[in-house]
Amino acid sequence: NAGVTQTPKFRVLKTGQSMTLLCAQDMNHEYMYWYRQDPGMGLRLIHYSVGEGTTAKGEVPDGYNVSRLKKQNFLLGLESAAPSQTSVYFCASRKGGSGNTIYFGEGSWLTVV
C-alpha cells in the first residue's frame, strides 16, 4: 500500500527544457493536488483536480500544465523550465467530500539552472 508516490524525487533541468512530474495514488481518491513550496512561502497550489478528466487552476498556475487521464495519476508538466520554477513540489490526494484528511507524497526537488 504505497499511498501517494511522486517521481522523480530529484531532477536538475536546464532553462528551456521540459519535463513531467508524475503523482500516483492507490487509495482511489477523487481529489488530487500539486503544490510548490519555497522558503517562507508555505505551500502554494499550482493546479488541482476533483475527478478524472477534470483540472482547475490554483494560485500559481503559470508555466505549468496538468492532466488527469486516469483517476490514480495526476501529471504536472513544465513545458519550458525557468529558474523561477526551482522548488520542491508536493502532490497530495484525498477522498471526495468534506471532512477527509489529505495525504502527501514525499516531494520532488527540482532545480532549473
Partner: protein
C-alpha cells in the same frame, strides 16, 4: 479571495516552553481546518477541526477552532527539540469546490 494567515511566521523557544500558533482565515463555504507538521519531507497530519469550541488533543498538542472569529490555535506544551518543524494550517473549502488553501506556515525552533 480565500485567505489563510498564520502567525507568527517563526518562533524560537527553549525546551519546556509552551507555544501557541495562530491561524486565521477568510474562506467562503468553510468545511474544515487542518493542521500539519512538516519536518524534512512531506507534511504529516495533526488535527482536523470542523466544529467551534471543541478541543482536539494528542499528547502535548491541542487545537481548537473559533468559527465566529475565524481562527484556530495550535498549542504545544512542554516543547521538545523534536517539535522543531514547520507547522502548516490548511483550510478545506473556499470559493472553488475541492480547493485547499494553506497558510504560509510557522517555523518553530526548539533549543535544548
Amino acid at each position: 479571495e480565500d485567505k489563510v494567515v498564520q502567525s507568527p511566521l517563526s518562533l524560537v523557544v527553549h525546551e519546556g516552553d509552551t507555544v501557541t500558533l495562530n491561524c486565521s482565515y477568510e474562506v467562503t463555504n468553510f468545511r474544515s481546518l487542518l493542521w500539519y507538521k512538516q519536518e524534512k519531507k512531506a507534511p504529516t497530519f495533526l488535527f482536523m477541526l470542523t466544529s467551534s469550541g471543541i478541543e482536539k488533543k494528542s499528547g502535548r498538542l491541542s487545537s481548537i477552532l473559533d468559527k465566529k472569529e475565524l481562527f484556530s490555535i495550535l498549542n504545544i506544551t512542554a516543547t521538545q527539540t523534536g517539535d522543531s518543524a514547520i507547522y502548516l494550517c490548511l483550510n478545506a473549502g473556499g470559493t472553488s469546490y475541492g480547493k485547499l488553501t494553506f497558510g504560509q506556515g510557522t517555523i518553530l525552533t526548539v533549543h535544548p
